[in-house]
């Protein structure tokens, strides 16, 4: 071997190397040092002999307690925390894939600034100092120039709270416009709050499927929408013999297990529910003692629903009266241990969404299925301290002449409606919004009408995000902050108030990779630059410990207990223990406060316009291995379900000459086209609707390894109807045709439309 022959470096090269190393080049020999201890890497394989740390999953918002196994400084496996009464050692496919999220080469690694046009996705790496300085400077400049309300914050998830406090300290009224509320659960939360006095469905759902004798699901597709304990309770209920009624235009996974499946015409659920309520009253199927002792407004309810017969509803809903009758009798027979599932994603049709959930709550009350096994139950209050990092007195909303919270009577209690914030960004009315902070929200796919969102962003002076993956939000941001993955950080305390209450904490399994930082660190350091007083803790751990102190716990104490302590539950209540949290102390079968706002105290049937001629309604749902739009890029989950399919009724497909697996596009009522999507031809969906799982197929050619795989429902949602209670925006008010090759195909109408249901115009106006 003649090693001398290796690369005969010229004198020029040698000289320039010498010059360049003097020029502050990083890297090179300085990357290593003498080992201080014997390197242990490579001795163990898999999770054998791993160090175990308990924590909390955040691959979806359900937050299952977990144990993370770390071998030689590397996360090797995630399992459920065996001490957890809700999931035990189980996690779902996404929970397992936390390993992949942590180690995704596409995670945001450093603070970055935009160096191309907005939406181009061209970035340079910058320091934390520069990134936070830039954000603080822009927040101050925009506030000075346009006033505090020109600042807005779109937030979601556990990591959003710390930064929200900073926005609150600026005096803006737009410190929370959570799409997860205004584009999802809002109408349901309000309906239960006003009817039963507590939010029976939100991030948590207090419905006891495991002990139910019968379960009603309206459009809820448990099993396709996976939350471990939720699915377990559902399966437990069914395995114990619970009967199941599913109302769904589609043979969903849950409908496939149903005793009775009612494939309802989309948009007519309230007709069915009103007719059922009337039937229950007329046939004395309601729980008289419960209604007399616990409810108010029964006589008014009886009067208002008396016109809604099963026969009438059968025509509206395109169902058979016998099936409807059998279903309600089956549910009534199980009373009071009947589970009228409260649903979660409620923003379907705009008008009538609060009403639909009000009707579920009324049905639960009529059956006496509140505070009993199998019905809705009450959360057990778990004592943990609520810690605010910025004092309340520093978080006052600045005076405002025309508030975005005044447009709808019920938005103020929850935030500013996302759609109205976007409108203000586009029009400058009622006041300009010029700066947006985004945390944990895919702004293009979560908010309907992304075309309007793009317009809004282009009008901003500044937009920044705190993110984990370089997705659509990052592409549009001026500054991008790398947030630590949930496995690398502390978050608030998790107090589960369900059937089997417990306290647990999220804690870091490993230190943050690259230059990612925890939400607490980011907010605390931004606060310093903005001279916002607060964030008094020396670190994130002290912040969490302070919250645990109220429960006489600390992180160390909790860890000695296996990371989780269980508490005694108090879910079922009767007699004097049954206290209803409404102002009257009664369940409100009629909500008079709604009438005071010119809204219906008891929902009336108002038909949702049917598709225009030649169109069909677009409905959507979830994939069991994905969370919203967040996981499509996850290598493991992408491998399992890389794309979505368009469910198309077999008769319609036959008439259109479309075969199973054929690739088509969709065109909506406003001429917006989807990316290509493969068709699943099936008798398992009605002819007047098509279905796809949400979250796939971004239209941005720049985005994700999943680009070109399936279609995005959000990009077809350009017609939204505002819910009149809070300004939540509808998502099922969009209609599509199928595009085969270059030909746009009219969808044949197989089921005739009754005259009571109007047809939407082709160019549907926002209502």
């Amino acid at each position: 071997m003649n090693r001398r022959r290796f690369i005969k470096m010229s004198t020029a090269t040698a000289l320039t190397i010498a010059a360049s190393t003097m020029d502050g080049l990083p890297g090179g020999a300085g990357l290593f040092r003498k080992a201080r201890a014997e390197t242990a890497v490579g001795k163990a394989t898999g999770s054998m002999g791993a160090k175990e740390t308990t924590s909390v999953c955040e691959m979806c918002f359900w937050r299952c307690p977990i144990v993370a196994k770390v071998t030689d400084g590397r996360l090797t496996k995630i399992e459920g925390n065996p001490k957890s009464p809700v999931n035990g050692t189980r996690v779902c496919a996404r929970g397992n894939s936390g390993v992949q999220l942590l180690y995704d080469p596409d995670r945001i690694k450093y603070p970055m600034k935009r160096v191309g046009a907005r939406g181009e996705g061209k970035w340079a790496k910058i320091s934390w100092d520069e990134a936070l300085g830039e954000i603080a400077h822009n927040m101050e400049t925009v506030k000075k120039k346009y006033g505090p309300h020109a600042l807005a914050y779109f937030d979601h998830g556990a990591s959003a709270e710390n930064l929200r406090e900073i926005f609150m300290a600026t005096g803006t009224e737009n410190y929370t416009s959570e799409p997860a509320f205004f584009q999802c659960v809002g109408p349901a939360a309000l309906a239960y709050l006003e009817t039963l006095g507590y939010i029976a469905t939100g991030t948590r759902q207090y419905n006891d499927m495991a002990h139910a004798k019968a379960i009603l699901l309206v459009g809820s597709h448990i099993g396709e929408n996976v939350h471990v304990s939720h699915v377990r309770e559902f399966i437990e209920g069914l395995s114990q013999g619970a009967k199941l009624v599913v109302v769904d235009p589609r043979l969903s996974m849950a409908a496939g297990k149903a005793t009775i499946h009612l494939p309802i015409r989309p948009g007519t659920d309230n007709a069915l529910l009103l007719a059922w309520i009337n039937y229950v009253i007329q046939n004395n199927l309601y729980n008289k003692a419960f209604v007399a002792n616990t409810c108010e407004g029964f006589d008014r309810l009886k009067e208002e629903v008396k016109g809604y017969s099963l026969e009438w509803a059968a025509k509206i809903c395109d169902l058979k009266p016998d099936g409807m009758k059998a279903a309600i009798e089956l549910l009534a027979k199980a009373s009071p241990n009947v589970n009228i599932h409260p649903g979660r994603h409620a923003t379907w049709y705009g008008k009538g969404d609060v009403g639909r959930h009000q009707l579920y709550a009324i049905l639960s009350a009529l059956f006496g299925a509140v505070g009993v096994p199998g019905g809705l139950y009450f959360p057990t209050s778990v004592k943990v301290g609520h810690v605010e990092c910025v004092e309340q007195k520093s978080k006052q909303v600045a005076p405002i002449e025309k508030s975005l919270k005044d447009i709808y009577p019920y938005s103020a209690m929850f935030g500013t409606p996302t759609a109205d914030v976007i409108k203000a960004m586009v029009t400058g009315k009622p006041y300009p919004i010029k700066l947006l902070g985004v945390n944990g929200v895919n702004i293009m796919q979560t908010i309907p009408d992304p075309y309007e969102t793009m317009k809004a962003i282009k009008n901003l002076d500044f937009i920044f995000c705190e993110e984990i993956m370089a997705g659509e939000t990052a592409i549009w941001s001026d500054i991008i902050l790398p947030e630590a993955v949930y496995l690398e950080r502390y978050d608030g305390v998790y107090a589960y108030e369900g059937l089997t209450p417990y306290i647990t904490v999220r804690q870091p399994v490993l230190p943050p990779m690259y230059e990612a930082k925890s939400p607490y660190w980011i907010a605390a350091n931004l606060a310093k630059r903005l001279k916002v007083e607060g964030f008094p803790y020396k670190d994130d751990k002290a912040y969490v410990d302070d919250q645990l102190a109220a429960a006489d716990l600390s992180i160390d104490k909790l860890n000695r207990e296996g990371g989780l302590v269980t508490l005694k539950g108090n879910p079922y209540r009767e007699g004097k223990d049954l206290k209803i949290g409404t102002d009257s102390g009664k369940i409100k079968l009629a909500v008079e406060a709604f009438a005071d706002e010119d809204l219906d105290a008891i929902p009336k049937f108002e038909p949702t316009p049917a598709p225009p001629k030649g169109y069909t309604r677009l409905i959507y749902g979830r994939s069991p291995v994905h969370t919203f739009t967040r996981t499509m890029n996850n290598l493991w989950l992408n491998h399992e379900v890389p794309e979505n399919f368009l469910w198309l009724n077999d008769t319609v497909a036959g008439k259109l000459g479309i075969k199973n697996d054929e690739t088509v596009r969709l065109e909506n009522q406003d001429g917006k086209r989807s990316t290509p999507i493969k068709v699943l031809v099936t008798p398992g969906i009605r002819p007047d609707a098509v279905y796809m799982a949400h979250g796939f197929g971004s239209q941005s050619p720049l985005l994700t390894r999943a680009y070109g795989k399936g279609a995005a429902d959000g990009f077809l949602m350009t017609n939204t109807i505002a819910d009149p209670f809070m300004g939540a925006t509808s998502k099922r008010t969009n209609f599509v045709k199928i595009v085969k090759g270059d030909t746009v195909l009219d969808i044949p109408e197989i089921v005739p439309l009754p005259e009571e249901i109007p047809r939407a115009g082709r160019q549907v106006q926002a209502g």
């Binding site: 040698a14 080049l25 090179g28 080469p105 596409d106 970055m112 890029n633």
Partner: protein
């Protein structure tokens, strides 16, 4: 003894460009390319060496890009087709460093980064640890770097990174062919 400096230089060039003045590293790279007989190089433009261009391109190629990083510079991503960080490729690299009595100094990077591995080759040459060098290059570096260089090439990189990829690949190949490594 073979000169470790080209490898130290390449290691530096594969880290984020924060030079006060980008001309010297560009000059070294072109000089090295010339030494290695790299011909048919496309004509460079002044803009392609502007620091901001280099930084944006570095981020696109190796850190974050909207469509996914086209050429992640980590052994772990390629070895056994894992596609993610800190898997077998990472374990292997760390084990080799340990065998040389080294550990990576604290940086924010993953230690199986191409920059680390090139610097390690430099170190082994520097210290005459040829048996280990042989094992490291043949048993580890060659298991992933050709795939990495290929992905870099197809990512349509800006001039500096196009040349850098080619020069680094040639240097490793020279090491094998001319030095009689396996």
């Amino acid at each position: 003894m073979a000169d470790p400096h080209p490898f130290y230089f390449l290691s530096s060039a594969f880290t984020y460009p924060e030079y006060r003045e980008p001309r010297p590293p560009v000059a070294v790279l072109l000089s090295l390319a010339h030494d290695l007989g790299l011909t048919g190089l496309p004509l460079e433009t002044h803009e392609s060496f502007a620091l901001q261009q280099l930084q944006a391109e570095y981020v696109r190629l190796f850190v974050n890009a909207p469509g996914g990083v086209p050429s992640p510079p980590y052994a772990s991503v390629y070895i056994q087709g894992k596609g993610i960080l800190k898997q077998q490729g990472y374990e292997q690299a760390m084990a080799f460093y340990g065998r040389a009595g080294l550990e990576p100094a604290e940086t924010s990077e993953c230690e199986d980064h191409i920059g680390h591995e090139l610097a390690f080759i430099g170190h082994l040459l520097d210290h005459g640890q040829f048996e280990l060098l042989d094992e490291f290059v043949a048993g580890h570096v060659m298991a992933w770097s050709p795939h990495f260089f290929q992905r870099l090439k197809t990512a349509d990189p800006a001039y500096f990174y196009l040349i850098l990829g080619q020069v680094a690949e040639l240097c490793i190949n020279h090491l094998i062919q001319k030095e009689g490594l396996r």
